[in-house]
């Protein structure tokens, strides 16, 4: 095994070994961390259980400390169970789960950062929405997370996975690319197709700014976890239909990094611009400073 540093290297390695990206990444992790497969999978199982508990809690309904967010995951879930949704059973689940998990983050619940706390809903939401329909056994679910983790590594080392470093395209954008890739693999896509899924998902979200209201990881973060989960599924399905990225995936990754560096500091987690400086957001910020709470009614 050699150190895999780009999507291209990873895809080539998988093709040579005639195995999936996830299997290759598992071998890579065993090799560089000098750890046995069972130990890695057991640890991933723990992360998966944290995600499952967070989703369950969010669907039951939670609110954030400041009162700015909450209960939408529950709302979305009840709506989809009561109605025939345009999104259909799978995508509507993904949206509800993404929001629910990220509401748990905002409410000081226990989550697994994937790749960050603010974007922790996207990957598990997609996994939980598809695992029954695709009859993924536990091993396949763990591999889904291994593949997603591998994509995150390539993005973190060649671009960014932090809102302060690269804007929200680096957090939610990365999470979406991770989920799209893992889903493409679960659908039986080739390693090349998995690479296209990463490129498509990133391109859908390039330029996305990080301008959270009052500096809190709530608005727009939570709803974005829902819409991004739907985007990930869309990208995977586009790729399975034979759609390809015209720009090679590693170049898209570098573009994300370069856009992140060009993005003004006001739009990189400082809450000094954009959505965070709207009239309402400024009033909310003031209210939080004075009372520790935000009243979303007035």
């Amino acid at each position: 095994m050699k150190l895999l540093t780009t999507m291209h290297m990873w895809i080539e390695e998988a093709s040579e070994r005639e195995c999936s990206l996830g299997e290759t990444m598992l071998q890579h992790e065993m090799w560089h961390s000098e750890t046995e497969e069972t130990v890695i999978l057991e640890r991933m199982e723990q992360q998966l259980q944290v995600m499952e508990k967070a989703c369950e809690r969010g669907l039951a309904g939670v609110t954030s400390r400041a009162g700015l967010s909450g209960m939408d995951g529950k709302r979305l879930n009840e709506y989809r169970l009561r109605n025939t949704t345009l999104l259909g059973p799978i995508v509507s689940q993904a949206v509800a789960y993404g929001v629910a998990i990220n509401e748990v983050n905002a409410s000081m619940g226990v989550i697994c950062a994937t790749p960050t706390a603010g974007s922790s809903g996207v990957v598990p939401a997609v996994l939980f929405a598809v695992r029954d329909a695709l009859t993924l056994d536990r091993r396949a679910q763990l591999q889904f997370l291994v593949t997603a983790g591998g994509v995150g590594l390539m993005l973190a080392n060649n671009a960014s996975i932090s809102g302060a470093g690269g804007g929200c395209q680096a957090e939610i954008g990365s999470a979406t690319a991770m989920a799209a890739c893992a889903l493409t693999e679960a659908l039986g896509g080739t390693p090349e197709q998995c690479g296209h899924a990463v490129a498509l998902a990133l391109k859908a979200l390039l330029g996305l700014t990080c301008d959270p209201v009052a500096g809190l990881v709530e608005v727009p973060c939570i709803k974005r976890n829902g819409t991004a989960a739907a985007t990930a599924i869309t990208c995977a399905e586009m790729v399975m239909a034979g759609v390809e990225s015209k720009i090679p995936v590693d170049e898209v990754v570098l573009a994300m990094g370069s856009i992140g560096r060009m993005m003004p500091v006001a739009l990189k987690e400082t809450a000094l611009g954009g959505l965070a400086q709207t009239e309402t957001a400024r009033r909310m910020t003031q209210q939080l400073r004075e009372t520790g709470r935000i009243d979303t009614k007035n």
Partner: protein, 219 residues
């Protein structure tokens, strides 16, 4: 390659909402407690920069206090940190300051009980990683990832050699070492990060070196 493991991406497991403002804050409280060496009776917290702006919404106050109570960032009891501290009879004051700081996420802590006092300044540098930058007026740079020794002493020739000799005898490797003092010949603080934990006997033998005021081991 900054990120090596898939668990740097699928992880850490933590209490939300923010790795810098919540998970990092727990680790800062925890680091201060390790330096203080026990649970404090009185705690003063002052937030600066972005911590001052948003601590209420991120639960940074609850997080720091939970760290002082020896919790780690994935402890589900963190949201109840203040109530737990109150039930332990800990007296807490929490405030903010507009003073300019070098780093946006800065907190000053003053920990006290009947045996002593610690003034601590720490920063949350991103991704949940933290550093202590000042201890009792001494500039330092201490993280919570390696074992370390904090040694307060009177600044005079030969002391450093006598301390490091005791580590050499035990075959303990020093990874970094910094010395800061308030003025020449006055009291000084040595911070030694080591690859292994320093045995209790070695710590005791250091205490006997003339001029040494205090040795605090941190695991």
């Amino acid at each position: 390659m900054k990120y090596k493991s898939i668990f740097d991406i699928i992880g850490p497991v933590m209490v939300g909402p923010s790795s810098s403002h919540t998970a990092g804050a727990v680790r800062l409280g925890h680091l201060a407690r390790k330096i203080f060496g026990r649970e404090p009776k009185r705690v003063g917290i002052t937030f600066y920069g972005s911590f001052a702006e948003t601590y209420k919404g991120h639960g940074t106050d609850v997080a720091v206090i939970s760290g002082l109570l020896d919790m780690s960032p994935d402890n589900p009891d963190i949201p109840d940190g203040i109530d737990i501290a109150r039930s332990h009879g800990i007296d807490m004051t929490i405030g903010t300051s507009d003073d300019a700081v070098d780093f946006p996420n800065t907190v000053r802590l003053s920990l006290e009980d009947d045996e002593g006092k610690l003034d601590f300044t720490g920063i949350s540098i991103g991704g949940g990683m933290v550093e202590a930058t000042e201890i009792n007026g001494f500039e330092v740079k201490i993280d919570d990832e390696n074992p370390a020794l904090l040694i307060e002493y009177i600044d005079k020739a030969g002391i450093i050699a006598r301390i490091t000799a005791r580590l050499a005898v035990e075959n303990i490797n020093i990874s970094t070492m910094t010395v800061s003092r308030r003025s020449r010949g006055a009291d000084a603080l040595m911070v030694i990060s080591t690859d292994q934990k320093v045995p209790d006997e070695t710590v005791e033998s250091m205490m006997k070196v003339p001029g040494i005021a205090m040795v605090t081991p941190m695991e």
